[in-house]
Symmetry: C2
Subunit: 231 residues, 2 copies
DNA sequence: TACAAATGTTAGCCTACTCTAACAAAATAA
DNA sequence: TTATTTTGTTAGAGTAGGCTAACATTTGTA
């Protein structure tokens, strides 16, 4: 059984390597900075995690997750994002409030709890930030994320989140019939005033670019593993 | 901000004193035993909690919660029982599975989370063990708990839990239309075979004493603070 | 009342996690 | 290719929470 601290180191390493995409391994200072501890502190823990065969690490070298370390890290991320989804969907939290509480909830140990929560939420694929939720098997497909204004004309996409949280914006979102996991089709863009015509729930609306750039979407086509977010 | 450990000591003290009803204070060994630590360990913590003015304690004396200590302890109990209710009502946990996970969840720090959870569960009054859930204001009415077979003829009561968990029993409970918070009226008891005739949802059933003694109920009349459970 | 048993406290030690200060190695720039 | 900066490590120390062994106090009983 891992401690909260150990879990947080594994998660940090996952975020700094695989999730950020371009790197296979991370340095001690980098890990320390991410976790708000001093390099000396991180160094101790890295030695400990190496001992437990959860990471590969050699003195003065970079660190990376082993297969079992990665599996555990993904488990934590899964829990984090399921809890964020729960808070957002069921408890009326806003998308910017969920992360802090999920940082605590992600460490609750109970495989039954995770699986039942997943079921209760109807096996969600994206969390309120639009990040992919790993499945029970540890698979995580990562979407081509963009904002609604970046979507090409004539294509469909799915709303996965918002970038703004003002009540006026949210009320507008609601009025148009949009919410997470809703299908949106981009019908046209008006060259003159840049208004974007979309179809939601079979109804048509014209929205401003300002509105559209605060709607996070994922294109229908989803490709494997590669995201930028760290929540 | 209190640590998990400190919260557990306060909760232990609440359970050993107010909740068990007959005592105002608890001894060091007793507290240690309840928390599965050695008396020396408990002694250190009691000194620390006294320093923080959360308990009253004098060397070689018994300990008791101060007003602020009691308030915090009740907060933890509130969270514990709300989470148990959540697990039971929403995630299909059985009544004997909820406690262990709630022991972890009760330490999550977020007043918004607690309040929203309470609302989401529709402000439940009893947890799956039939224990009263303290309100947001820290009020906790404690019911006259008994089992269905102990209820007098002609009186109504409310189901607050079960004492058994076999699927055959649970299916029976379900078939009769019973669940937590359901009203039950005891119509009669057959002297010959001791069958109890009850009314649930306007329908009448006869149940055996064996069945009835595994149904936890609370009489309509509720009186202030005094329960025996420690979950 | 005196003594034994039960209860509570202290001292000393341990592990986990954190820090600062000093030092070593690696990477980069002159 | 040497010097400097960046990065990483070690040593020593602190806090929280836990333990054992020894000791002190209180309680209950003979
Ligand atoms: Mn997050
Ligand atoms: Mn997220
Ligand atoms: Mn419980
Ligand atoms: Mn309970």
């Amino acid at each position: 059984m891992l401690s909260f601290t150990e879990e947080n180191y594994l998660k940090a390493l996952l975020h700094l390597t695989i999730e950020t995409g371009d790197k296979e391994e991370a340095g001690t200072n980098e890990i320390a900075a991410h976790l708000n501890v001093k390099p000396a502190t991180a160094n101790d823990m890295l030695k400990k995690l190496k001992e437990k065969k959860l990471i590969d690490y050699e003195k003065y070298g970079k660190s990376s997750l082993t297969t079992s370390g990665r599996k555990l890290a993904i488990e934590v991320v899964r829990k984090h994002r399921l809890w964020e989804t729960f808070l957002y969907e069921k408890l009326e939290f806003t998308w910017d409030e969920v992360h802090e509480v999920a940082e605590q909830l992600e460490h609750i140990q109970s495989s039954k709890l995770v699986d039942k929560l997943d079921k209760f939420l109807n096996y969600p694929v994206f969390d309120p930030h639009g990040d992919a939720i790993p499945t029970a098997k540890g698979e995580m497909k990562v979407p081509l994320k963009k904002t609604l204004n970046e979507q090409e004309i004539g294509r469909s996409c799915m709303m996965i989140g918002v970038k703004e949280n003002s009540s006026s914006f949210l009320q507008y979102v609601d009025k148009v019939g949009l919410s997470i996991n809703k299908k949106i089709k981009v019908l046209s863009k008006q060259p003159y005033d840049e208004l974007i015509e979309i179809e939601v729930n079979g109804k048509r609306f014209s929205v401003s670019p300002k509105f559209a750039e605060n709607i996070l979407i994922v294109s229908e086509d989803v490709e494997p593993m590669n995201t930028k977010r760290k929540n």
